[in-house]
């Protein structure tokens, strides 16, 4: 089909793609620098030795997963309020990246748990509710995949995203009452400054990665929607569709 002048903005502007690419390189370099600095400068931990270094990637991954899900929550509320499709697509992008970070945090935590706790998995509150969050947002993505009508998909996934995010706290509390074993959260006060620096650097690097991933997925979602809209338009106009 011929390309008409009314192409959506996302499809024609080369600017965003280039900017996203630059962001990607910055994020990549930030990860390299953060890993290098935190691996070389921090001494082995008194109890865990070099295993402690897993913290630099495990903790930021978990933080970024929560941040991404928090974004889904806020954007879903915004969508139901304003009914702007961009909020929905951005929420979907955040959910995808959240799932990746969530799975990464669980895998790294498991690798860390085996030598320090002696088990790959334990049924404590934080661990379990993190796993439940992963399943909830996998369900969110499945719902999106199985719902074709874009308006319906947006409304439904917004409802699922809001309820799922809120429920993760209830799951956390209920598992905590059920049983708990996880170490008490470290805070900057219980953490030697040399470790804090590495952790902060990694958190920033991971944040850049998160923004880069979300930007890419959001752009892809915008383009997909534009293509869908064009197919619909062409079908309504009675043309054959060649995309």
């Amino acid at each position: 089909m011929t390309i008409s002048a009314s192409r959506p903005a996302a499809a024609q502007a080369p600017g965003p793609a280039r900017r996203i690419q630059v962001l990607g390189w910055i994020a990549f370099l930030a990860v390299l620098v953060a890993e290098a600095v935190s691996l070389w400068t921090s001494p082995p931990d008194r109890d865990m030795g070099h295993l402690q270094k897993l913290m630099y990637v495990h903790v930021p991954a978990a933080w970024m997963a929560l941040l991404a899900y928090g974004l889904v929550f806020v954007l879903s509320l915004l969508y139901l309020w304003k009914r702007d499709e961009r909020h929905d697509l951005l929420a979907a992008a955040a959910a995808e990246v959240g799932v990746v970070m969530n799975a990464l945090a669980l895998a790294l935590g498991s690798i860390w748990g085996r030598p320090t706790w002696g088990v790959w998995w334990t049924w404590d509150a934080r661990l379990t509710s993190t796993a439940v969050l992963l399943v909830i947002f996998l369900g969110y993505l499945a719902l999106r995949a199985f719902t074709e009508d874009p308006d319906r998909r947006a409304r439904w996934s917004a409802a699922v995203g809001i309820l799922g995010f809120l429920n993760s706290y209830i799951v956390y509390m209920s598992v905590r009452w059920w049983r708990t074993l996880h170490q008490v959260q470290s805070s900057p006060e219980t953490l030697d400054p040399i470790y804090t620096r590495g952790l902060r650097m990694n958190a920033i690097a991971f944040l850049l990665v998160l923004v880069y991933f979300v930007a890419r997925r959001y752009r892809a979602a915008r383009l997909e929607r534009a293509a869908e809209a064009r197919i619909e338009e062409a079908a309504l106009a009675g043309e054959g569709v060649h995309v």
Partner: protein
């Protein structure tokens, strides 16, 4: 006064939907018979999977009982909307004057009655084949069944409103519903096993109160979100 009358009218609407759904079910009984059969089968399968050791079976009974309710009850929810999808009945239902939430409450009431009836068969059967005491913990156990089922059915009715109208509804409903169910499941199983063991620590009361909180939270959240899910 106007407000009270409005609420009463909504409840009457919800009641009409409950009555309609239960009448449809009573006249065929096809769904109920199939779900109950599957539930009994599940109880037997858990028995085979967990071995013939009577003590081990009894220790696992509370969890087995609730998982059986979950796995068989989940089959009822999609159907309650599927009935409406044929001949565009749901659109007609939406065209009637009144709030959307009365549709939700009606579906919720019908599903609640349905799952409770299934439990009326499943619990005695479980008591027989898992060798459980039923009479001693009876009043408390009935309370747990009511509260746990209410939480389950609330979430199930809510998610089925979406899943039943999507492709792949068979897998989508449990995938959406079961993770959300975990607090209710933990509370119900803990309370049930405490009661079955004679409640030596007296902690079934705490779990029961938690179940009340979970039920209220999920009920309010589902009613609020349903407006956005059902509008067409």
């Amino acid at each position: 006064m106007e407000r009270v009358r409005g609420w009463r009218r909504e409840l009457a609407r919800a009641g009409a939907i409950v009555w309609k759904d239960l009448t449809a079910e009573r006249r065929t009984r096809a769904n109920f018979n199939a779900v109950v059969s599957l539930a009994v089968l599940t109880l037997l399968l858990f028995g085979f999977a967990l071995g013939p050791d009577t003590e081990a079976l009894r220790a696992a009974a509370a969890g087995v009982l609730w998982l059986t309710v979950l796995f068989s009850g989940v089959l009822a929810f999609n159907r309650s909307y599927q009935l409406e999808l044929e001949n565009g009945a749901l659109d007609t239902l939406l065209l009637y004057p009144g709030e959307r939430r009365s549709i939700f409450l009606g579906k919720l009431g019908a599903n609640f009655a349905f799952v409770l009836l299934v439990e009326l068969v499943v619990v005695p059967v479980a008591a027989v084949i898992y060798n459980l005491p039923l009479l001693r913990p009876f009043p408390g156990l009935a309370g747990v069944m009511l509260l746990g089922t209410l939480g389950f059915v609330t979430l199930g009715t809510f998610y089925a409103a979406m899943a039943s109208r999507s492709r792949a509804r068979e897998v989508l409903l449990p995938l959406l519903l079961f993770p959300m169910m975990i607090p209710v499941l933990v509370g119900s199983v803990e309370a049930t096993s405490a009661l079955l063991a004679g409640d030596p620590m007296g902690d079934s009361g705490a779990w029961l109160r938690l179940l009340v909180v979970f039920d209220l939270v999920f009920l309010v959240a589902s009613v609020l979100a349903f407006e956005h899910v059902i509008e067409e």
